[in-house]
Symmetry: D2
Subunit: 367 residues, 4 copies
């Protein structure tokens, strides 16, 4: 179960960084959805390494194949198997890492938990694993888009360089206009410079991703345990390198008083809305119809091109000199991944809501 | 499933704030554990309202009864049913709230999602629901304690009043020494004053809870989706009034460089340890053997004793004058609840780890 | 999880035969369903012991209380907690059984698996546990009935006395017309005589229950693992004393040739039907719209009033003289229980079908 | 979830009969298990079509590849992805079946449930899907074998030709000695003749599989819902063409009296055993340490080479002339599949038992 996500719309992922392939099985997909490999490929292409000078130079084509569950261009309701071949291996580059535990990586804990691990490129603990999530989630995105849901993530801070808040929801084009995926061009420029500077020093930086969702109906989320924000928090913290999640006003909101933080209701053209949205689009764990927004904090990449103190598999203290390709800053590539996990949570909750509240549609009126 | 938490050690909770009772069913508990109602009562007593002047005056005895699963003082491995009677109802106090949606409460979303709700005292969306979690989690705590695991949460900030960092893990007595549950007496005093001041103004404040766990083995956590911090994040965001979760260095850590943030390994008396612990006790989603720590942000209580703009169930704009008992600051009472959810996550993962990695115990040596 | 059944409409049961109470939590129930305790009570009354001379004389009132999830006569979509008090204990009657393992009962396996058990009245392994299932399933039955689904089980054989096949679906009244619950009065008379005769000898007999469901839509069932008949088989074999399950033609069908067994399709007034129904209402694991029918085999009750060879908890060989109240034949009381489990499976699958196939309702036409 | 089986040791399968491939993802496998493709291949080879004149002539090599989760010959505890290429397509042979619903096949129900289906070779509803189960279950078998568990299924009846009961557990060689997989050579000969005779007539027959398991510990099974026999019943009824399941004495046992059916306990060299085993190795849903045995009934294959009345997708009545390759009797090939599902249930329950009852191992003695 640790490699399955979702309850009604479910994905199960598999694969190691340097194995022959990686992939996902999507179960519970609605039938009759028009679906082609190109629907998935466009999201994968956004996550793919090797796209610009600020990210890892590993060159993976990340070509996805659909092996089942689609017939003549439409889903059949049976499991959809997605397959992504791994191409660009350089096992040599990782020779030293076989023996030594890389600081702040998962080598030590995987080795201790399982007693055996695939060390090549980080094996299963590599962020490469998220390619399968992105491919699978592209299906969820397509379904949500058919209902007018827009999911847009972007970088709001790299290291200590922040962009000013945006009033409007930026378009995909605005976000993709620069390699940092920050829709504020001047800030993006500074962020890119910082990343290149840090890269030159063999170091790394982290940052913040903001994710905003518009168009959601009121009613998604399943208290008490499966609150919408709880499942989003889990989804985000299941991503490599994440250290924090904050919905709505987040940690800053804890500095306000109730009289400042509460969002008053009003009637806007017959629709119940709130005048402010400190809540972030959820009330009591259920979507409120306001914009859903949350932030995710990513730590600086653990791989740095510097000498670091560590121990080897036998417990001897030693030095590790980082080698191989690496991202000086993973956060820009995290943007489509954050969107992917968001889509999975939202679609699963939408289908769950339908199952409980719409299957029979009893109401006080109809009897 | 929305009211069930955990995969191997599982709790299912039920009950509304002003219904006849609330409770939980614990399934999957190890057999032969010595267990008495008093084991649960002591945790419930910490969460119970009416204990000091800074919390709600609702006076619930919260007496828990064990209805099944225990025979002659020991668990039998069958479901343990816990029952807590609701005593102190004042339905009158909520009359106005039946018709009007309280701002930043769940009234509106519950009404819209389900089409029907129990409005008394917030019904199922009341924080009173967490009493059942605390009672059930007391079982998990007892099991973890038998292995030397210590879980200690406390308040580090109320509104904008913060305590300085503590080097040592405070004892339970240090935490419980004041009604704020802040183990730094001078700061606790200021926090208490702030809460009383805010209460007088009919307003409310939020704050931060820090939770620290010592004694964990290396190996708990189930990547890729069920990382230990992912399940903790979900657990915390499933609590009412939470807006954020941060593990280890958290959001502050995103301001460091990789060379500053990485935790170097060393050999401490034959044990692999890290010199720093920015990671917060998890690496790659698996416990590292270092102290596990994370912060949870609570917004100011939504109930305030002030007039607020809102709408009624028919969408008419109106005013709501908060009445009834309320907590000007829920955070001190959240402390045992945060510990409770932590215990549930840790025990479930411990049992899951055993199931996968210890049931058969293949190893490279033994063949 | 072992005490939870269902995936979307889920029940979790708890309680021992001689504990203070037993009950169930129903999660995922559609909101707005009119529901009163009397809806559940009428099913419980059918299962209740002490109703006639052919069943156990234990006299339990089995009065069910709804503790949560219903407000002003309608479900709220939150967990429904059901509580049934245990009244008529005679712990003395079981004194001998504390020490000695009753043959063909669960005493030995519970003791060995868990290391500790509640022996009074069989504890958790008592068939009394099914009272909670029946109460919970009454909710599912009410929902299914609102869609015209009729579930009717009855006795077709007691020991070696069989009734002839019935062409029509008997009414509830026909089934309940005699204590054996066999809707063929002459056979019922013979069955009753056999049971009384066997009772006089301190012995017991088993038999067959046939369950028939009319009104189902085409489409319930979730291949490949959660075929409708697979989940029904599990549901039935989860009942105490069951030894077999057969759907449609069952084991007899394995004696036919394909040309005899196949059910030809035809068009009946615009509806696709089959001329025969050896399949039993399922094709490929999915309901076909034909009558769903299956048989369940119950072994003779293990409790007999005779001396039997056995061992005690220390492994010493000894004799056990059955005492206490017992059912010489449990099968008549199993009838409402078989219906209950059937209702749980069908409603869960109905809601699951809606979740996957109706939530978004893509179709080849609408695009 | 419908394509996932198991709770701790879990498999998720995917693939259509005539798609590019089919496969499975195994999650939760114990780490450090020596595993090679040949371990899986030997089981697949037993299931593979085209092996003898009594089964379908479709010639699939069914070569399995392991794509993840194994490194240097040992499992790593991460998901194991299994991939089986589909080779021998003859889509032409199925042209007629695209339009017409084959009687007693899943065409009609899949089309109605999902609104769209892959008709080639039966798509997802083809028994070919079980190849993925067999491959995945071979891993479970290897683990169980390491603990001395022997799972042996064989044919006891084809059409109306039965073999006499066997006292001993036949060896794999005895079962595989003839194409019918009946370990009684004279009966096997007659069965084979019957199958060939029926084949010549374009017809088909069914039969019975008996599955026996030796070496199980006392304690596997999780009442009340996840009784061992309940999960076995579900596993068996999830297989195509099955109509019934019976454990131990089964339906015949319902003809006995309690005094005949009860299995008396005795002490055999310090071990608690029963003198008879009508129970079939389970008591109260938990393995008793006696041989576990159950029967599964398979209907005659639905595909026959005869003209049959049916309707087309538009509801018009028509005739279908069966063509293509088919099995006149699937039961011999079902033998390894029954064993496979048995292994999955047993290993999952073993790991679950460890999780609950062995993780902490409290006992009345140790305190």
């Amino acid at each position: 179960m640790p490699n399955t996500f979702g309850k009604v719309f479910r994905i199960t992922t598999w694969g190691e960084s340097h194995g022959p392939a990686l992939g996902a099985v999507v179960d519970g997909c609605p039938p009759n959805l028009p679906l082609e490999e190109s629907d998935l490929q466009k999201e994968l292409d956004r996550r793919r390494p090797g796209q610009s000078k600020i990210v890892t130079q590993r060159n993976e084509k990340d070509q996805v194949k659909i092996l089942s569950g689609v017939y003549q261009g439409r889903t059949t309701g049976t499991p959809i198997s997605l397959y992504i071949s791994n191409g660009d291996h350089q096992p040599k580059a990782y020779d030293e890492m076989r023996q030594k535990f890389r600081p702040s990586h998962a080598d030590f804990t995987y080795q201790t938990k399982y007693g055996h691990r695939n060390p090549e490129g980080g094996g299963r603990s590599s962020a490469r694993e998220t390619a399968a999530r992105v491919a699978a989630a592209a299906i969820a995105r397509k379904i949500l888009a058919s209902r007018g849901i827009e999911i847009r993530a972007y970088i709001t801070r790299i290291h200590d360089i922040s962009m000013p808040p945006l009033a409007h929801l930026p378009t995909l084009e605005e976000v993709e206009a620069n390699p940092v995926r920050c829709p504020h061009p001047e800030t993006a420029q500074k962020m890119e410079e910082r990343i290149l500077e840090v890269r030159k020093e063999g170091d790394s930086v982290g940052g913040l991703v903001l994710c905003r969702v518009q168009g959601l109906p009121v009613g998604l989320g399943d208290p008490v345990f499966d609150r919408l924000e709880a499942d989003l928090a889990k989804a985000m913290l299941s991503l490599p390198a994440t250290k924090g999640f904050a919905v709505g006003s987040g940690f800053d909101g804890t500095l306000l008083r109730g009289s400042e933080h509460n969002d008053p209701f009003h009637n806007q053209d017959g629709k119940i809305r709130t005048r402010t949205n400190h809540a972030g689009g959820v009330l009591g764990g259920i979507s409120s119809g306001e914009e859903l927004y949350f932030q995710v904090g990513f730590k600086p990449t653990a791989t740095i091109i510097r000498s670091q103190a560590t121990v080897d598999q036998d417990g001897h203290e030693t030095e590790l000199m980082g080698k191989g390709r690496h991202d000086p800053c993973v956060v820009p590539r995290a943007v489509p991944i954050v969107e992917a996990m968001t889509a999975l949570v939202l679609l699963d909750h939408w289908m769950r809501h339908q199952a409980q509240c719409e299957s029979f549609a009893f109401s006080q009126e109809n009897e």
